[in-house]
């Protein structure tokens, strides 16, 4: 499954911030780590700040810090800020969608969408950070 670039940047960013909510992280540091344009990232961070998930920090050092609740925020809360999940209507429908074949295919695609939505809704940022930690432990191996 492919998420849009902005959505991935948003998820990378909130997870970076949520890893240590007390830490201020600059946009430049995240842009460098994820090899993305600082300008592009700034737009995403601005959107996250408007939604109250992060807050910008004034003064020496500056940057952003996490402003949400990692145990309550889900991947879906972030994703739906940048992705469209509602079925398109009117002239936004894909060509052929209203044909019998189009509708049958739509039934199958809806199955996949529903599973994806349920998955994203059920994973909080805290659960994602636990997954990250488990994977890092596996990579480090027994010590």
């Amino acid at each position: 499954m492919k998420l849009q670039k902005n959505t991935r940047l948003a998820l990378y960013s909130v997870l970076e911030f949520a890893t240590d909510p007390t830490r201020h992280i600059s946009a430049a540091e995240i842009a460098d780590k994820y090899d993305v344009s600082p300008h592009h990232l700034a737009k995403v961070l601005s959107e996250l700040a408007r939604a109250g998930l992060v807050e910008s920090v004034r003064g020496v050092g500056g940057g952003y810090r996490f402003a949400g609740n990692a145990r309550r925020l889900t991947l879906m809360d972030v994703i739906e800020m940048f992705e469209e999940f509602a079925a398109p209507e009117g002239d936004r429908r894909e060509p052929g969608e209203r044909t019998p074949v189009g509708q049958a295919l739509g039934t199958v695609l809806s199955e996949i969408d529903e599973i994806a939505k349920a998955t994203f809704r059920s994973i909080t940022l805290a659960t994602m950070l636990q997954l990250l930690e488990r994977q890092q432990r596996v990579r480090r191996g027994p010590q």
Binding site: T74, E114, I115, A118, T119, R121, S122, I123, T124, A126, T127, Q130, L131, R134
Partner: protein, 171 residues
């Protein structure tokens, strides 16, 4: 297989006294005397009293001496505040023996205190003693509360896809 219990949002208060202290909860095998509070807890959460169903479950999983059958409760100062039920199933759906959790619930007044985690840990320990190393469960994709709980315990989507068919709609 019975689906994992759906959970309604916690109510604002309790009936029958102050809520028990979750920190004091111990996990132990179910006893016959636990059935009344279990029936009541399930009825509170699901809105349905299913006494006969719980009697059957007790006979199959609670009164059983088989290590593969597990029916555990969380006991907080003598009050049952949660339960978990599961069993080891062999070669179902083509899978090697593994543990299945098919019911788990915690009293709404004592949630978010780690009791669900301890119930799951206890039943998983039982599954390990019974010789299996994988635990599975299945629940409605609309049951976000319990889905999130299992996810928070480290469970990920398994290699199975549940399918269904409306028999009345088949020609």
């Amino acid at each position: 297989m019975t689906a994992t219990r759906a959970a309604r949002p916690a109510s604002k208060g309790t009936r029958g006294g102050a809520p028990p202290e979750p920190a004091c909860a111990s996990i132990r095998p179910v006893r016959r005397g636990d059935l009344d509070p279990i029936v009541a807890l399930d009825a509170r959460v699901t809105g349905l009293e299913k006494r006969a169903y719980w009697e059957t479950l007790y006979l199959r999983y609670g009164a059983s001496t088989r290590a593969e059958h597990q029916f555990l409760v969380a006991d907080a100062g003598g009050r049952v505040v949660g339960f978990v039920i599961g069993e080891v199933r062999d070669w179902e759906f083509g899978a090697p023996p593994c543990g299945w959790v098919f019911a788990i619930d915690v009293h709404p007044d004592v949630r978010l205190a780690g009791i669900g985690t301890r119930l799951l840990e206890a039943i998983c320990a039982g599954f390990r003693r019974a010789g299996v190393s994988t635990v599975r469960t299945m629940l409605s994709r609309d049951n976000n509360l319990v889905l999130s709980f299992f996810r928070s315990q480290g469970m990920m989507t398994g290699p199975f896809i549940p399918l269904e068919m409306d028999l009345d709609a088949v020609d």
